[in-house]
Amino acid sequence: MSTTEDQKIHGILAEFRNPKELTDVAKKMVNSGYSKFDTFSPFPIHGMDKAMNLKKSKLGWIVLGHGILGFSIAIAMMYFMSVIDYPLNISGKPFFNAPAWVPITFELTVLLSAFGAVFGMFFLNGLPKLHNPLFNSERFKKATDDGFFACIEADDDMFEAEKVKALFQEAGATHIEEVYE
């Protein structure tokens, strides 16, 4: 690594021993008034949303929108093709054969909703992300194995490296480091 002076600091990263400590430090960060912070764990921790004071995910509305779109596309497609453009008498059933259209309408609604759920989730999470400064930290690789990390970003209005370090120290961090862009 080159000299650190010419690099911009991204944030302070601290490692904790277990999910309990991570949940506690999340509460601490919220109570101290930080907003641009995050916690990292190899699996979702039950109760972390409350500790981090996370707002309800907007994903449900994205999925609903996609579902309505899928439903409309299915009905419009079938209506155009078999009622308007080329009506065919099939076993004496009406052109607008609603019961028989249920399966395809259902499938397309589900398909589009699923697209909404997956791509909406990636969108909300800002993924895929080509580069993340946190990956500069060798230790951070443990976050997908057995490490529990917290990070306060330098962008935070209240960010002061020493204060942040003190907060982590007090919360029982086993390791604290500065992460650069």
Partner: protein, 475 residues
Amino acid sequence: MSKYQYVPEPALVKGDHDFSSLTRLVTDINLRETPKAWYLAMMGANALLMLMVVAIGYLIWEGTGIWGLNNPVGWGWAIINFVWWVGIGHAGTLISAILFLFRQDWRTAINRFAEAMTIFAVMCAGVFPAIHVGRIWVVYWMFPIPNQMAMWPNFNSPLLWDVFAVSTYFTVSLLFWYVGLVPDLATIRDRATDKIRKVAYGIFSLGWTGSNRHWWNYEKAYMILAGLATPLVLSVHTIVSFDFAVSMIPGWHTTIFPPYFVAGAIFSGFAMVLTLMIVARKIYGMKDIMTDDHMEKMNIVILVTGSMVGFAYIMEFFIAWYSGVEYEKAIFMLRATGPYAWAYWAMMTCNVFSPQFFWSKKLRRSVGFTFFISIVVNIGMWFERFVITVTSLANDYLPSSWDYYSPTIWDVMTYVGTFGLFFTMFLLFLRFLPMIALAEVKAVIPLADPHNYDEETNEYVAPKVEVPEPQSEKV
């Protein structure tokens, strides 16, 4: 005091595992050098795959005349194999979606595995509708694509519903699987030491960090996907059953087909998961995660769904008699006593009688016996589709046009060949992707719950269940 003993819930993960040992247990398989045995297995699978390629190649060259289809039986092994494979492909999404909604945490040990199996089984299934059309170069007519004839597909046709159902199911299963894989791919990315793995897993893990802000949306997405996949998985085999049931052919047109097909699909899917799981956990040493308790639970599912299938057989038989419709009555008698009685009784033995052994706890926990039954069940489910498809067509309204159906070598080769496709994909999966949903397993062990840590010292305290001392009965 009663003579009954309370048995506490067994731990989901056996042995003394922590997060890091679980990571190593699962991902070492992907990181170590490829074992020789894997190459050998791959060669075998590829040989079978070639068999399929040859069979399909000749089919395209020569036409569907090479199959055993005859005049009354215009639908033979192709549809049987399609339904069979698609049925097997139901367990994965069921395990990941329905059991997730039911909060059945034991699913985490097998869901990745079962989802992979689902995707590959649906691939194998998809081969048949594509090739059975005869003129494969116009297969795009199945889709609503504008063309020079100004024709559209017939949306009243159950076969077209199938096109939409199976392709939606494949897409959604794949997405569901991939969403589950992302955190685990990130784990491999972070453990990889060579350039190729770092880049490859890096691309597919999309820059996942394990941020709890991300997990929050992720869990929501997983929940919604499970909610979508649950009715989807039911709809797919329902629509497959519509292929038969909306017709007027005796033995096909019966209203119980939708739930009955779904139960059968789950039945065969679980059996296939068990077959693969018992082998894989032995080879890869996964007995701590895929435990005998999991096997027992799955055997109970097999018992339940097998009995549901049995219920449907009995209802069909009863209503065929009750309906008073001669053709209905005749076809069911012919199934049990006619030219295909051997297939009918093979189906009954394998599907209805064999799972009943699982009423015994001892047999449910016997690995060898479970393996045996899991194969028997899938043989039985193949025969079920054979009985439905062939008996009804071969002996329809006019006895003068009855004919006996038998397959040709090309039917057999295509079917056997699809196992090549299946195992090729499965071996690739075992080699390159984590076969256990690592993040999910970590999340359900007691170490993961912040409540299991001491308030003061922050040290882990294992949760205990205190069984109360029974009091003597007071009257």
